[in-house]
Symmetry: C2
Subunit: 298 residues, 2 copies
DNA sequence: GATCCATTATGCAAATATGCATGAATTGGC
DNA sequence: GCCAATTCATGCATATTTGCATAATGGATC
């Protein structure tokens, strides 16, 4: 019958393409093997086989390192598109799965993951023992579209329409500093007195600055002379007297080495949103965890 | 290290996704097996394994027929995207390949494939025996973007910018009919006398009508009361006296059962373009065949 | 320059996937 | 209503792929 169908062009081994993709992105066969839960030799042979199958040299073996050839780079672009689509397949499939057993990856900021989540997760484990939970503590906003997590806890309102969000109860954050440091800058008692203080910043200080402004503290990017992406480091810097930091009262008030800066100042409300991908929320498993977290955290 | 990488979501077996794609598109495991050069049982097991892996039922086994479930249909959409990307990978790879051995698929209209190509292809086979040639005779314009062919011969100028085209020498086409039929409509001797004649049409008559108009024959869609997508059938209908048809002088003049309609009329120039995809033209193999065809057919 | 560490290559046994042959079930035509 | 033609499922021998253990190689560091 029809020999003019275009299947011939997709007849190559797709798993080899996957091996190539992950190897190129991770930078080495070994790293790719770790990422995929395989051994390095398998990946090596798959990439080699792909090169033979396509008749294209993908990597230049420069010593112990693999560097992409020009052809490899050109091809990687298209293989990435395959990977993107594969991610969509996986996401859509997870969304349709009625199975409860399986893994759910929850992303949250370091502090939230360390201080608020543990008891909730522990309860969830008892409540739904078939569900494996993976907590991803990162202060970067993971890309739910790319399935870097199934459920994320965010401190800003998500805008993308592909995402579903539910607002949880607010926490209160206050400014904290070591008594030593406060003495050093003259024990400020008004917001204006903080104009020259050192604030310990995050990678993106926009929301933080806006919150401070609402409290009446008028400072600029110039006040952030210490910046870290880690809440832990942030907090340790505060304790060490490196400047003024911010954290939830739950944590700050429990720490004897620090005290509130301007205790009468209104708190910064820290809102938390529970977020998931629209496509995932049709999954029984995701729904269960999503609803459980919403219930427990609000 | 980073557990927040999104590789986990693409860890499923991509070949199984391919099996699902082809099965769903072809409509059965057996058809898919034929298309991919595998056996049906392998595909069946791969699809089954994919269902288990994703936890989603893709097909409903209704008797001997597989029908997509709702979930399967949703997923197919994304798997199609994977397939599209895979096609790009393959095309790009072919374009980069310096290997000469391999297959080249040439698409041409039925008539062209049957009457003009054979001697040229025979010569090419002698000239480049490592190249396997596949001739796809179809009157539909194959989609070069989707790699339905590597090289196409077309009778209209391609407009897409991704395509590279070279114009070949023109052929002349004339109107032909069986003497019986001509007698029946009164042996017309002027273009105007053809106003009520039956013309045998193609699926899309736009270019044909335009060509006739240039010859001074003013007819409309209404004159096409017999339509076929096959040049063979078209020609057999002409020989059988079903109406007026068109073909290249090379073929028409060689057929004793028919004669030219209005022999003094100017011929319809039939231009031919040799077309390939921009990305493929960087391939040594494609270049060789493309240049050879251009040389031999102009 | 010797050593350590992490990388890629290779040999081999075990696990896995594939193709073939066959059987069962279903459709469509006469 | 029966027959022929397809289709999917299954058992089994064979091919292929995978993982493991172990080299071999190349950078980095002191």
């Amino acid at each position: 019958m029809q020999i003019c169908m275009n299947w011939r062009s997709i007849k190559f081994d797709w798993n080899r393409a996957r091996a190539f993709l992950v190897t190129a992105e991770e930078g080495s066969l070994s790293a790719a093997a770790r990422a995929l839960g395989m051994v390095q030799s398998t990946l090596g042979r798959q990439v080699e086989a792909l090169e033979a199958e396509l008749g294209v040299t993908l990597f230049e073996r420069a010593g112990r390192r693999l560097v992409l050839t020009r052809n490899g780079r050109d091809l990687l672009e298209h293989v990435r598109a395959m990977g993107e689509a594969a991610g969509q397949v996986s996401m859509s499939a997870s969304g349709q799965s009625e199975l409860i057993e399986g893994t759910i990856r929850i992303s949250a900021t370091e502090t939230f993951a360390a201080k608020r989540l543990p008891p909730v997760i522990a309860k969830l484990r008892k409540f739904q023992p078939e569900i494996t939970v993976e907590v991803c503590a990162t202060n970067k906003a993971v890309d739910l579209n790319r399935r870097e997590a199934d459920i994320a806890l965010r401190h800003f309102r998500p805008t993308q329409t592909e995402l579903i969000a539910r607002k949880l109860s607010d926490d209160n954050a206050f400014l904290y500093a070591a008594p030593d440091y406060l003495a050093q800058i003259g024990d400020p008692s008004t917001p204006a007195a903080l104009g020259d203080a050192d604030f310990i910043g995050f990678e993106n200080n926009d929301v933080y600055l806006k919150g401070l402004k609402q409290m009446g503290v008028e400072i600029t990017e110039g006040n952030f002379r210490l910046i870290t992406d880690s809440h832990n480091v942030h907090w340790e810097l505060v304790k060490a007297g490196a400047g003024i930091g911010v954290t939830m009262d739950l944590i700050g008030d429990a720490e004897p080495q620090v005290k509130r800066v301007l205790p009468d100042l209104a708190p910064v409300p820290v809102s938390t949103w529970l977020v998931t991908h629209r496509e995932l929320n049709t999954s029984r498993r995701v729904r269960i965890v999503f609803d459980f977290l919403a219930e427990e955290l609000s």
